[in-house]
């Protein structure tokens, strides 16, 4: 097995992961050597490492195989190798939930926890408490109590922290160890103090009096542990808040005194606590703010970040308190950590003057694409507050917001921007048109249904009241046609609002022709008569269009009482395909296909152009061309007979077939042969 592992690894080269090709079944097979004696610590250690690595990577172990491996591992307690033993404790903890009967190691662990090897005791306690249930806990109670007050710090810490974990499971049992925990709190070790305090608080937190007493004791006795101090500050803050004690209470004094602690972590905790207290006066805030101001110039990014984040919070309610820090905040605008820069700018936006707004906005826009979505939302919120404060700056803000709206971003981010724009529109009538325009642009390409419907609703509400409502109808109409169901519904509702407000607006956005047809069809349909539908919608016009045009033109020239008679218009004939029409088609795809102008129509046009024929009336029929000459002659002539109401016009088309001759001054002289009169 091990050789196989070797080979694979040699093949993959030196940059590879020795755990990369691990197979669970192979590793578990290897684990069988745990049963061999004598135990080879190094090999066993490596196998345990592989098991834990696999578990950490998310490899699933079935209950049977986990239990088998667990049981095999217990054999390793026979070895005295320290690292191996420690890894056994770790394995017990990692497999506690997936193996059965894990309590078989209880006696081994109990032995280790009370044994002579100090280096085993702490970890053994922690492993034991991981597998203990309530019944078992009572059995080991006395060992736990002894461990809590043990002089070896790691033992005490392990016992305290483990007790804390078990509070959820066995509060009543652990509560009995409160005296031991109290004793442990007076330890010199900074971690033991912290753990003891933590356990005591968790045990007493429902008893406010007990907590107060404890706090008084510890704040006076001068703990060393910075972690413990942080915990005390938090407990004190909570008490202050719950009891609504005034800020002249000793609790407040304690927190305030922590601003002068040697440890930065404690100082920051205190400043943060003060800043978050409700009803803080400017005077009370001042020392906290000055401490944060100092942190702004720290070389540690985490400290700068913590400081500027907290100042940002102060600026929300007390912008004047932060003004003193403006210079330091300005320095942070160019911080390489973009989160810090963003927070600095948004804080300055809250505390700075109106004149600085443009400059700061420009600064932010240069890196807004680099910051995370969470910070983009922070920026949007700052802009929102700014718009309320400096309404005159709304155009700068609106510009910025619309740019952000066009960029990539998640739903929360886009929603924050939309909300901000909407609130600007609502507060500031001057910004309404710009704001609505930006929102219209946004819904053209918006993937979030919730936002689209919200905007459509707003457009429906605000649009009709604007000077030119028709501007917005186009955008809404497109949504009716193109979007998902919810959006279409919202769009239709919005349109209805426009219609309700202005009667003639309903179709105002449509081109004239489209509007006319829409009105016409609507009227036809409203009659609900099948015959009408057939006549006007399905069958369409059966007359030739140019003919109709001509007839109408005649009619207007010759006013008469009679209404225009469609029957006087010649019917459309089949169009010739080889003749090109001079009339350019005007229709878009929406119009029904225009009947291609027929040959007759062309003749009609041509004849109408001749002044002598204008009095003849409409053309009734034209005949097919008749060839009068043979095709090979120098020139070919064909004749077309045009029949009018009372006249006949003979059209002779003369075409020259020779390239080098030009025919001029042609005359036609027809002879009329006597024809028997027929009717």
């Amino acid at each position: 097995m091990i050789k196989k592992f070797d080979k694979k690894d040699e093949e993959s080269g030196s940059g590879s992961n020795p755990f990369q090709h691990l197979e669970k079944s192979a590793v578990l097979q290897e684990a069988r050597i745990f049963n061999e004696t004598p135990i080879n610590p190094r090999r066993c250690l490596h196998i345990l490492t592989k098991i834990i690595y696999l578990l950490n990577q998310g490899e699933h172990f079935g209950t049977t195989e986990a239990t088998e491996a667990f049981f095999a591992m217990t054999r390793l307690f026979q070895s005295n190798d320290q690292t191996l033993r420690r890894m056994c404790y770790l394995t017990i903890k990692e497999m506690a939930n997936i193996s059965e009967d894990v309590i078989i190691v209880t006696s081994s662990l109990t032995k280790d926890m009370t044994g002579k090897e100090d280096v085993y005791r702490g970890p053994a306690i922690r492993a034991l408490c991981r597998i203990t249930d309530t019944t078992m806990l009572q059995a080991i109670e006395r060992y736990m109590k002894q461990a809590i007050v043990d002089k070896v710090p790691s033992v005490s810490s392990s016992a305290l922290v483990s007790s804390l974990h078990m509070v959820k499971m066995s509060y009543d049992v652990v509560k009995r160890w409160v005296n031991e925990a109290q004793e442990a709190a007076s330890s010199d070790n900074i971690m033991v103090q912290y753990h003891a305090l933590g356990l005591l608080y968790h045990l007493r937190k429902n008893d406010r009096l007990a907590v107060t007493k404890m706090l008084n004791k510890f704040t006076k006795s001068g703990l060393k542990s910075p972690f413990a101090y942080c915990m005390l500050i938090r407990i004190a803050s909570k008490l202050l808040d719950e009891t609504e004690a005034g800020h002249d209470s000793p609790l407040f004094d304690f927190i305030e005194s922590c601003l002068r602690n040697k440890n930065e972590m404690v100082v920051y905790e205190a400043a943060s606590a003060i800043v978050h207290m409700p009803n803080c006066t400017a005077r009370e805030l001042a020392p906290a703010v000055s401490v944060l101001q100092l942190f702004c110039s720290s070389p540690k990014a985490a400290l700068r970040y913590a400081a500027v984040r907290t100042l940002n919070k102060v600026a929300m309610k007390h912008p004047s308190a932060v003004t003193a820090c403006n210079l330091d905040l300005e320095n942070l605008i160019t911080d390489s950590n973009r989160s810090i820069a963003t927070l600095a700018i948004t804080t300055l936006l809250k505390t700075g003057s109106e004149s600085s707004v443009d400059r700061l906005m420009k600064q932010i826009s240069s890196f807004v694409s680099e910051i995370s979505d969470e910070f983009k939302v922070v920026v949007v919120q700052a802009i929102s507050a700014l718009c309320q404060k400096y309404p005159r700056k709304h155009s700068v803000m609106m510009n910025f917001l619309s740019n952000m709206l066009r960029d990539d971003g998640g739903f929360d981010y886009k929603r924050a921007i939309v909300d901000c724009i909407i609130s600007i529109i609502e507060e500031n009538p001057e910004s309404k048109e710009t704001g609505l325009a930006h929102l219209c642009e946004f819904i053209e390409d918006c993937e979030h249904t919730v936002l689209a419907t919200k905007i459509l609703h707003l457009l429906g509400k605000e649009g009709p009241r604007t000077p030119q409502p028709s501007k917005y109808i186009r955008f809404i109409f497109n949504r009716v046609v193109l979007e998902s169901e919810a959006v279409r519904a919202a769009a239709v509702s919005a349109l209805a609002k426009f219609g309700a407000q202005n009667d003639d607006l309903c179709f105002a956005f449509l081109d004239d022709e489209v509007r006319d047809r829409a009105t016409f069809y609507m009227n036809v349909l409203q009659q609900k008569q099948k015959a009408l539908n057939a006549a006007y919608i399905f069958n369409g016009l059966s007359v030739s269009i140019p003919g109709l045009e001509k007839s109408l033109h005649q009619y207007t020239l010759d006013p008469s009482e009679k209404p225009f008679d469609m029957k006087s218009v010649p019917l459309a004939t089949t169009p010739i395909t080889e003749q090109k029409t001079e009339i350019a088609p005007v229709a878009t795809s929406k119009l029904p296909e225009k009947l291609a102008p027929s040959r007759q129509d062309i003749y009609q046009e041509q004849l109408a152009a001749v002044p002598e024929f204008q009095g003849l009336g409409p053309l009734f029929k034209s005949s097919e061309p008749v060839q009068l000459t043979e095709a090979e002659t120098e020139y070919v002539v064909r004749c077309i007979k045009h029949t009018f109401a009372r006249h006949m016009v003979f059209q002779f088309d003369c075409t020259n077939t020779l390239n080098d001759q030009l025919l001029q001054k042609l005359t036609a002289s027809p002879t009329v042969s006597p024809v028997p009169a027929t009717l």
């Binding site: 190094r42 250690l45 834990i52 971690m191 938090r234 409700p278 990014a301 913590a306 989160s339």
Partner: protein, 167 residues
Amino acid sequence: MKMKETEPSLYTVKAVFILDNDGNRLLSKYYDPEFYPSMKEQKNFEKNVFNKTHKADNEIAFLEGMTIVYKTSIDLFFYVVGSAQENELMLMSVLNCLFESLSQILKKNVERRCLLDNMEGVFLVVDEIIDGGVILESDPQQVLQKVNYRVRGESVIPNYQSCHFIY
């Protein structure tokens, strides 16, 4: 201003993880059962955090509602995760302890191959610093004493190139 909503508690660390420079997980522990309990969510979170942090070595970031402090060394990335209201310096103290302890164990060779060759030491160090989300130890010297780990003078697997140390 609203009171900070955190209940005073020793449970300050939500997660800790070590990634390689492809963003693959080498070690990770999640301590809060409500914070990304499934493997899928965890791997997803690690991917997002990696993507946002591996280019800019900025020490601290705020992602998915969590404060994340981090440190890189050669081809490794170390992360400690806490809630948004957590004291950032406290999280830094955990990160620094972790890094310093590993640095000592790996004899300053804080890079991927050496880390993987001494994985049991790494597991034990993490176990000594954070227990179930509670900061157990913040002093690297104490951690080393408790772990008492000796880097192997020869590799476990024969014929296997690993980092050699003479001691």
